[in-house]
Symmetry: C2
Subunit: 205 residues, 2 copies
DNA sequence: CAGCCGCCCTGACAGATGTCATGGCACCGA
DNA sequence: TCGGTGCCATGACATCTGTCAGGGCGGCTG
């Protein structure tokens, strides 16, 4: 054993939740929160400065999201392991997080008592993944949408019209409609709005 | 002073957040979490059993939402004060929470250190309201949508077609279209989907 | 009570949306 | 090299959507 205390970094945009998690984890003898940040962009600088053993990252954050931050941490600070702690158990998030090099993935529905254990396991080099979510991820699979389709569907999220989307992406209206139609078909939806919802639910956007 | 210790109930659907908040609040000498629940429906029974001084309720919960739970607690257990602790600073939420009899309203962006103070203030009978949110609430104002319009717009949230909505609500398609059109106009939107987004953002649904 | 106002309901019509058939282009294996 | 495959792009056409004008009903006020 190198150091008896596991040093942690916490990243979550909600200050209250962040502070509460810090309080929870600091209760444990062998855990110590050494840094807290509120946006994805601050993660890497803080990691480089404090060199924590484990970084707990939320996925939804202002600036860079937790997945991108994970990849960056893995590349620039390989000594720090990453545990994703997120609100939404979107299947796609899990897959992308693992691909980005995350060591663990925990949703905020899990009992508070298990978090410390998850941290310890990740620190020991084990993978921690919510089992329910793992099966969902297999079921949902990778995104069936092509790059263009995702782009167009993402542009349709705010309820824009075809005309607006086509201008924003420099495409013909017919093309936009076609991509949307394809996305609707692949998501098993009937409407653009429905397609957006299921795609978001699967973490495909 | 009656009792030196303020007894608390925590209601939040995310177990991890709930447990973390409990840890945070239990650090304070004069605060004690005596009950935790994970859904709106469990709030009233737990309040009646434990008779906490202050109940901290989330708005987004399975079953009954935090606003409805607030009204119920105020009616059936007037000795318990209610502090809403929520993720989303939707202007409409604040207004509705206060109308339901909540004593305080805190968003999860606020620093963790302030939560304990908010609890103490609420316990002393003071109102605690996020100032930023209060002004937003005044700007956004009450929902301009009529009951029928809200109902139809709510039914359109999942991306249903007019035909589906009309069947679900036993209305003519023309009527549904008309209500949607009115909602679109009142929200300043151009599309049904856009109207849904802004209405949700203001807490009108 | 008459008039007015707001809400609800409905059908008709122009414009936006989703589907389909078609073609160009790059990449890959035979 | 050539056929096959997948992605992107586009226009035409049927369908759906949003707007508008209109009528019925209940409550409020002068």
């Amino acid at each position: 054993m190198s150091d008896p205390v596991i040093r942690l970094l916490l990243a979550d945009d909600q200050a209250l939740v962040r502070g509460a998690l810090a309080a929870l984890l600091n209760l444990e003898r062998d855990l110590e929160v050494v840094a807290e940040v509120g946006s994805g962009d601050e993660v890497l600088p803080a990691v480089l400065e404090h060199r924590p053993d484990v970084a707990l990252l939320d996925v939804e954050m202002p600036g860079m999201d937790g997945i991108a931050a994970t990849a960056l941490v893995r590349a620039k600070a390989p000594g720090t392991r990453v545990l994703i702690v997120t609100t939404f158990g979107r299947p796609g998030f899990l897959r992308r997080a693992l691909q980005a090099g995350a060591h663990g993935f925990v949703v905020k529905d899990t009992p508070a008592a298990e978090l410390a254990d998850a941290v310890r396991k990740v620190h020991r080099g084990l993978r921690v993944v919510d089992p329910q979510l793992a099966t969902d991820s297999l079921v949902a699979g990778e995104s069936p949408l092509t790059p263009r389709e995702t782009e167009v569907l993402r542009a349709a999220r705010d309820g824009s019209t075809v005309a607006a989307i086509s201008k924003r992406l420099f495409l013909s209206e017919g093309t936009v409609r076609n991509h949307l139609s394809a996305a609707i078909g692949k998501t098993g939806a009937t409407t653009r709005a429905e397609a957006v919802l299921t795609a978001e639910g699967n973490g495909w956007l």
